[in-house]
């Protein structure tokens, strides 16, 4: 399995500010995935972070709002920019270890509240 450390675990932020979420994996992975889980809702894929290239964003998510870095094969960051209360969600980092099949391992998540 994969051990995924995500921080911060939670934060309360003011409208208009930005928050950077860090994700550290204990093994090298090609792709890392960022998901959002709005309160009481399901998970929605934000983007895929590839090492050495720009992140790939899903429909409804843009780089200016959710810039992503992927400096190496074990680390990624997601920034939530110019936050509004609608950004209040749990943000989850995840990886897939292909040698273990097509299943996702999730970090513990970052619970973000925007006032």
């Amino acid at each position: 399995s994969a051990v995924i450390s995500q921080k911060p675990s939670r934060d309360i932020c003011q409208r208009g500010t930005s928050l950077t979420i860090q994700c550290q994996v204990d093994s090298q992975v090609t792709m890392m995935f960022w998901y959002r889980q709005q309160p009481g809702q399901s998970l929605t894929l934000i983007a895929t972070a590839n090492q050495g290239s720009e992140a790939t964003y899903e429909s409804g998510f843009v780089i200016d709002k959710f810039p992503i870095s992927r400096p190496n094969l074990t680390f990624s960051t997601l920034t939530v920019s110019n936050m509004s209360p609608e950004d209040s969600s749990i943000y989850l980092c995840s990886v897939e270890l292909t040698e273990l099949g097509e299943k996702l391992f999730f970090g513990s998540g970052t619970q973000l509240s925007v006032l």
């Binding site: 998970l43 989850l92 995840s94 990886v95 897939e96 097509e102 996702l104 999730f106």
Partner: protein
């Protein structure tokens, strides 16, 4: 666009009763996965089904993948309080591969002792 729908949204059972959640996709899936999220926790992988009509069991949990590979179910026999949580089904986002999943809305299971 692709949709993965899950019912029921909520299920309250007495400990010892059975529980079933159903998952339906608007498109044919190459595989379907099931995850469990405990209250306050993150999703944890339970199982992946790949073959048409496949049935897999994990102790009291039985997973089925429909013949058309568009629907699936999770059945728990004789629920226990440790089964509490939200159960999600998920399938690959149409036209993509590894790690890019569309999740159902989830079924929140409450077990009363």
């Amino acid at each position: 666009g692709q949709q993965v729908m899950q019912i029921p949204q909520y299920q309250h059972v007495q400990e010892g009763e059975d529980f079933t959640t159903y998952c339906n996709s608007s498109t044919t899936l190459s595989n379907i996965q099931w995850y469990k999220q405990r209250p306050g926790g993150h999703p944890v992988f339970l199982i992946q089904l790949v073959k048409s009509g496949e049935v897999k069991k994990q102790k009291r949990l039985t997973f089925q993948f429909g013949e058309a590979k568009k629907n699936s179910s999770l059945h728990i026999t004789a629920t226990q309080t440790t089964d509490v949580g939200t159960y999600f089904c998920a399938g690959p986002i149409e036209g993509t591969s590894y790690g890019k999943l569309t999740f159902g809305q989830g079924t929140i299971l409450t077990v009363h002792p």
